[in-house]
């Protein structure tokens, strides 16, 4: 690997020719190369290096735009009305404008992950040194940093090696962002190519962040038996001082846990978290607890349990400080990206800061030194807790009844609710003392609080729902398997063949946020269905938490019921958002470990392999954020389809295949060079499902790949048809597009399917060695 900015100073150098004094040599970069794999065509690819690959995908999966509004308001030419073919003052049309907005969203996501990674790496280098080794799985992981190998063509060995990778990411994000300036890119397909590039850069940032923390912080290292840890409000001991950490960057929380241990307070104080910081806290220390996903922020704060709230970065409610003040809880913000208007006390003595927080002289402070955060937060929590007495702002039943009687029945609460919840009717019931209707909203509410902002009577409606659901909240006691990190090489060896041949019917990655259309139970149902069908199910982020929040009849969660290994029927929690890198990494490793394809800077070939052979699909049922968009974009460039829930339609752009256009579904046969029809597999690259049932059928369908063996295709078709019959109550109408020859037909459905094929005048097709890349055709190479 290389070293940046190497300087050599020589005080005095005597030679036969001359004596040189105060010689100073400076090298921009010094490279010591030990990795013998040949470098592929696209090391550190520029914005346009993979443009041809992107255009191939976008030719098949054309964007369908669904604008939020008719105008562009990004410059002072505007607002410009772009409705139905009109162009703006700069000349842009609606397609380009929408793809530009998608690019901006993905760049927000990619820059956020990259900045997170930069902070992580800088901090860890300061603490552990440049030469701290990157070991994320011992002997179980020889192919570590798969995304970095694939994209950048580097094989990092130490923390210091990650710096030049982040330099690259920052450079690319800056260049991509510049393309969104007025009067730059104007073609929607080129914008979309840049979206893919942003997604790929995002994945690099994810991987850097997670391998850096796994390598240094003692997280589980690719461990299928990572510990089962506590999740849920009910697991938190309210008798103890409670520290709540919210966000995604675990570094401040490690400072807290370290201080508690060093000061003998560990065990005396509860440390819990919300969102991905919570995942990584349990990876750092299995005694830390997860409260729940992002949507639990308001309900948990208002419940009064936290004695100190620590905010780091990403997905933190921006009104946390206001909410904390309502329950008399001090706030410590710890990230330059999220200062909340609080005074920077980083350089002040801890004693003074603690005193100010405990006495309530300040509502909160900014501290950028994680060790000082640890000391201040721990000491403050211990001192504040007895005074606060878990003061809460959840009303009692009598208050709700009185408040509900003042409701003006304007229905503004429902009309502000993203879920269209019938809040007004529930409040009407509450005015009679019946809180059942409010309680029924608890499971579906995404905790945004928009109902309260809309209420003309300023009723604390979200708190009403939380009070009505209080019993459920307090009974939330679950086990989740702590994020394990990467997938082992041996696991890939074991499943590589059955995945590529189609005998494991698919890999389903259930990821993303908790903006679910009908509550988290749908996510649990989907995961369980596919685990039972022997798909490999991988989880991360808030979705991984949601997966733990329901128990079977024996009182076990999915993580207790199913193995945590990357195998058929396993449910694998890789960890926080940044651990999504290991999901992409697993797909990439299949190409490398199983198929022996070179990874190094060989992006296009590996993506082509994954797209045509690895039956993987992502499901972000509650995706809401720009980061989720960026993560999705990274998968799109790899050719992996992503399904979102109905709220995901608000990302404003789908990438949809057209199964009725036969000409879109030809590949090259790498053996012969022939163009071969392979059917719409996979049919879509980005797609919003209307219902859970629709998503489940589509998951099974999107796992089909041109390379499936006949046995594999028959297995996949069995799942697709079976789910379609059960959930749609009918046979699929497109079976003929997925049966390539007689042997593809599931044996138990032969008669039924043969009849359909006859009616549709189906003709047999051959199974090629599929590729979208002409350069992969072996016959031509031989001829040349």
């Amino acid at each position: 690997m290389s070293r940046k900015n190497v300087q050599i100073k020589v005080k005095e150098l005597k030679t036969n020719v001359a004596t040189i004094k105060d010689l100073e040599l400076s090298f921009g970069r010094l490279t010591t190369e030990t990795w013998t794999e040949p470098t592929g065509p696209t090391p550190f690819p520029s914005i346009t290096a993979l443009r041809e690959w992107d255009h191939k995908l976008l030719q098949r999966y054309k964007p369908f735009y669904m604008p939020y509004c008719d105008v562009c308001c990004l410059c002072t030419f505007g607002k410009c009305d772009l409705t139905a073919g009109k162009r703006g003052a700069c000349g842009i049309d609606m397609s380009a404008q929408q793809s530009r907005i998608v690019l901006l969203a993905c760049l927000i996501g990619a820059s956020t992950h990259t900045a997170h990674a930069r902070h992580m790496v800088e901090h860890l280098i300061e603490k552990y040194g440049h030469d701290s080794p990157i070991d994320i799985g011992g002997l179980s992981i020889e192919v570590e940093a798969t995304i970095l190998r694939l994209v950048c063509g580097v094989k990092p060995k130490t923390l210091g090696d990650l710096e030049e990778v982040l330099d690259y990411c920052e450079n690319q994000v800056t260049n991509l962002l510049s393309s969104t300036h007025t009067g730059q890119e104007g073609n929607n397909i080129d914008f979309e190519s840049k979206v893919f590039h942003a997604g790929m850069i995002d994945h690099v940032g994810l991987e850097v962040a997670d391998i850096a923390q796994v390598a240094t912080l003692g997280f589980p290292k690719a461990d299928p038996e990572a510990p089962l840890v506590d999740l849920g409000y009910g697991t938190i001991d309210s008798q103890k001082p409670v520290i709540l950490c919210i966000g995604h960057n675990v570094i401040p929380a490690t400072g807290i846990i370290d201080y508690l241990k060093a000061s003998g307070l560990h065990g005396e104080v509860e440390v819990c978290g919300l969102c991905c910081t919570a995942h990584d806290m349990t990876r750092y220390n299995p005694k830390a607890k997860i409260v729940g996903p992002i949507s639990w922020q308001l309900r948990f704060i208002r419940s009064g349990l936290p004695d100190v709230i620590v905010l780091d970065e990403q997905c933190v409610r921006t009104d946390c400080l206001n909410e904390a003040q309502k329950i008399h809880t001090p706030v410590v913000v710890t990230s330059e990206k999220n200062c909340m208007g609080l005074p920077n006390r980083t350089n002040d003595p801890a004693d003074e800061i603690v005193a100010d927080l405990v006495e309530g002289k300040v509502a909160g402070v900014l501290i950028l030194d994680p060790e000082k955060v640890g000391e201040v937060v721990a000491r403050t929590a211990v001192k504040v807790a007895p005074n606060r007495k878990k003061f809460k702002v959840i009303p009692n039943v009598e208050d709700i009844v009185v408040g509900a009687k003042t409701c003006k029945k304007c229905d503004d609460c429902r009309r502000a609710c993203p879920q269209d919840l019938h809040i007004m009717e529930a409040v009407a019931d509450a005015s009679t003392g019946n809180l059942d209707s409010l309680s029924s909203l608890y499971d579906i509410c995404i905790g945004c609080g928009r109902c309260e902002n809309a209420c003309q009577m300023d009723l604390p409606l979200h708190s009403y729902i939380v009070k009505a659901g209080e019993k459920k909240l307090k009974e939330e006691q679950f086990k989740i398997r702590s994020g394990r990190g990467a997938i082992q090489d041996v696991e890939i060896r074991n499943v590589g063949s059955p995945i590529v041949l189609g005998e494991i019917p698919g890999v389903l990655a259930v990821v993303g946020c908790s903006n679910y259309p009908h509550g988290g139970k749908e996510v649990v149902d989907i995961i369980q269905e596919f685990a039972n069908r022997k798909f490999i199910v991988v989880t991360s982020g808030c979705a991984a938490m949601t997966a733990a929040m329901y128990k079977n009849e024996e009182g076990k969660t999915l993580y207790e019921e199913y193995p945590g290994s990357f195998e058929a029927g396993g449910i694998v929690n890789v960890g926080s958002c940044v651990a999504n890198a290991h999901i992409a990494g697993a797909a990439i490793k299949i190409a490398n470990i199983f198929a022996k394809r070179n990874l190094r800077a060989n992006y296009e070939e590996i993506a082509d392999y994954i797209h045509n052979r690895v039956g993987a699909v992502g499901l972000a049922w509650g995706a809401y954020s720009q980061k989720a968009a960026a993560i999705g974009a990274g998968f799109w460039r790899l050719g992996v389809p992503v399904i979102v829930g109905p709220h995901g339609a608000k990302y404003r752009r789908m990438l949809l295949g057209r199964k009725d256009r036969e000409e879109d579904w030809y590949v090259h046969d790498a053996r012969t060079g022939d163009r071969v029809y392979v059917g719409p597999a996979p049919e879509h690259l980005f797609y919003a499902a209307e219902t859970k049932e629709e998503a489940m059928v589509m998951i099974a369908k999107l796992c089909m790949r041109p390379n499936d063996t006949t046995r594999g295709r028959a297995i996949k078709l069995t799942h697709y048809i079976d789910l379609h019959k059960r959930l749609y109550g009918a046979m699929p109408e497109d079976i003929d597009l997925y049966v390539r020859n007689e042997l593809d037909i599931p044996i138990t459905m032969k008669d039924e399917i043969r009849k359909i094929l006859e009616d549709k005048k189906w003709k047999e097709n051959r199974i090629p060695d599929p590729t979208l890349l002409p350069r992969m055709i072996r016959k031509r190479k031989e001829e040349a």
Partner: protein
Amino acid sequence: MATEPWQKAEIPGPTKALIITKPEVVVAMIKKAKRPLLVVGHEAAENQVGDKKLLDYAIRLSKMGKIPMVATAHIVGELAGLGFKPEGFMPAVDIANRLVDPEWKGLDGNGQYDLAMIMGITYYMEWVLFSGLKHFGQNLKTISLDRYYHPQASWSFPNISIENWAQNLDVIIGKLGE
């Protein structure tokens, strides 16, 4: 209030749906259309309109107006249970994507549609689908048959009561049958 979007923050911009002030407007639009299409989402199987399901209205509308129906999401089985076979079923984003393709030959191979009526898709999803059709559907008019104002459609009911909605749908179906 009547002409505000149901979800109040959903402000589309300069081009907003004309309001269906009386059901005859819809009847006239359907009769004027050469190739109308009815798109029915999953909420039609869940929502009651008076003592009937919205799905019952959708079936009657399709039959009386001789309007081909595309069922979205998973409701094709529900329709079969009611003895009705739609001309097509596919995801909502798929039918919208086809409706903006001038080369699409339609469900029957006879060409693109010139009028798309949508009912029974969750408001926020239907909102963006209508938007896609508004901006990219060439020569396509759209009508929302849901009871909430959908400004991204060409025509929409204002926010109306269930009773009013039922009366409107009954009139439309009745007049199409005349």
